[in-house]
Symmetry: C2
Subunit: 309 residues, 2 copies
């Protein structure tokens, strides 16, 4: 047994006017609750420090600078790092990253028990669009405000296991999971901000949207025999609802814990990383069963093409 006690630290809504300090205070409160339950690793959502600002259109991208972090840790997040070190707790959270070169990414970091950033991930699959879209019920401008991640899907030796990260929309793409699965990933941590309404189909109900979310995470976990921890920022941000449904999924693809609210809520589960072994040695023993000679299109083409391979 290689047990890791993990906490999915769901955050309720963050309004435009909420300060980083106020958000970090909420994150620390969840961390203190986690410490009381002997948590080894706490996982916070995507863009954990701010509102989901890609819903707001700005002609001048520089107007979004206020939502970006220029260094990590910084003044606002240092208290979070200090509390994590005091608790000896590892953590993962997402934020908008503005690099010294002026590049913008939707980023997540893996921080060890000593407060060192040991892994960085930049969101590869940016959903939405780059220009104002009058056809949508609301905007989803991730393609405007971020570049696609440039780091691929690396895995990290962490807490005695093999860990990977992805962010929100990445979870819907089986390529995300498979690239980490092919590096032996044993736990994938991911945060999301997912609107409760489809901006392009008002008829799509919340039940279907939660189903798509869970289906994607459960399939990714099962088909790569890995644990998955998927954590929401939820609730109504300045009139725009995000769904909850934070889940912890075992390597069989089964949900073992799920949040019940759209507020700040802690979900704790002890995960045996050795539970990944059975799947990796039998059904999903890639070396015996995969047939890459027939997968060429997955890398050779981006969109739909009917030409022969």
């Amino acid at each position: 047994m290689r047990n890791i006690t993990v906490a999915a630290a769901q955050l309720g809504p963050i309004q435009k006017d909420d300060s980083r300090q106020a958000v970090v205070a909420r994150m620390i409160d969840l961390m203190d609750q986690a410490k009381a339950q002997d948590v080894d690793l706490i996982v916070y959502p995507e863009l954990a420090l701010t509102t989901f600002f890609p819903r707001w259109y700005h002609e001048d991208v520089a107007e979004t600078d206020i939502w970006f972090e220029r260094e990590m840790p910084n003044a606002a997040t240092r208290p979070l790092f200090e509390r994590a070190i005091a608790h000896g707790m590892a953590m993962n959270f997402g934020y908008a990253e503005l690099t010294p070169e002026g590049r913008r990414f939707n980023t997540a970091i893996l921080v060890d028990r000593e407060g060192q950033i040991v892994g960085t991930y930049r969101k590869v699959h940016l959903p939405g669009h780059g220009e104002f879209d009058p056809e949508r019920a609301f905007q989803h401008l991730e393609k405007r405000y971020f570049e696609p991640g440039d780091l691929g899907f690396p895995v990290f030796d962490f807490l005695g296991g093999t860990f990977g990260m992805c962010i929100c929309n990445d979870r819907r793409w089986p390529e995300t999971w498979r690239v980490m699965g092919l590096q032996g990933v044993e736990m994938v941590v991911l945060g999301f901000n997912t609107p409760s309404v489809n901006s392009q189909d008002a008829e799509e109900n919340l039940e279907r949207r939660l189903f798509h979310h869970k289906l994607s995470v459960q399939a990714g976990a099962y088909q790569n025999a890995t644990w998955a921890v998927a954590v929401a920022k939820a609730g109504v941000e300045d009139g725009h609802p995000l769904f909850g449904g934070s889940i912890i999924v075992n390597p069989e693809g089964e949900i073992v814990a799920e949040t019940q609210t759209e507020d700040d809520e802690l979900l704790v589960h002890t995960c045996d990383l050795d539970a990944t072994t059975f799947g990796k040695k039998t059904m999903f023993d890639f070396s015996r069963h995969r047939r890459p000679e027939h997968y060429g299109r997955i890398v050779a083409q981006t969109g739909v093409e009917r030409s022969p391979d």
Copy 2:
């Protein structure tokens, strides 16, 4: 709307002693029932003509010749083709194929309303093992009796849409679905023979096994915005149980019809191929959202490797 009325024609068990003629009579009976419901396409399971013989070990592979078809149609299946032509009904079924060159494949065919074979698929992902395995509760010798398919995952212009095939274990591999999705597939038809018990884990219950089956088909359908029709051979064959759970899944990944028995049972649903358009143009508009520059491992390696890409 491009409506296709499809029938999942689940077969109950086929015993070792059952003749091809007896099985074909059952298939024709299901086809007649389907005709009464104006079915355009009837989908039968994997290895529809025989028992699931890979559970039986033979030192000499040639002893399995009795389970293979040397031509298609042949004397045993000609009545099925003739009935399909009389009904003007398209069909799909699986069988063990022995080629003139002596090669052995686990094969499925797509037959048009005029009885012409317009598509052939040979199972790529063979599960199980190649040698007798004394550790297992029962044998699963597909790797002994078949070569991996050599045709990839082609799609076919068929009944006014884009159709693809896969077989049984293929459905658990997201690569299967994606390669067809990248060719614009609108309906995937597949048959399966899946034991109700895990030969390597007696504790794994039927509920979990049905969940894995459905999860794989539902995720494949959703993530490629395609219909999926998954059809079982079910029930107890010579003491060995196979599960049912034949399903028709819409392009949202939702189950719209499911069998209730482990016997011969017909499931009919009218599927609008245009229902695939929304997903293909929004969330899964591959040309806008996929990032193949980060997918290299999927093709470059077969098993788990931690070396940098």
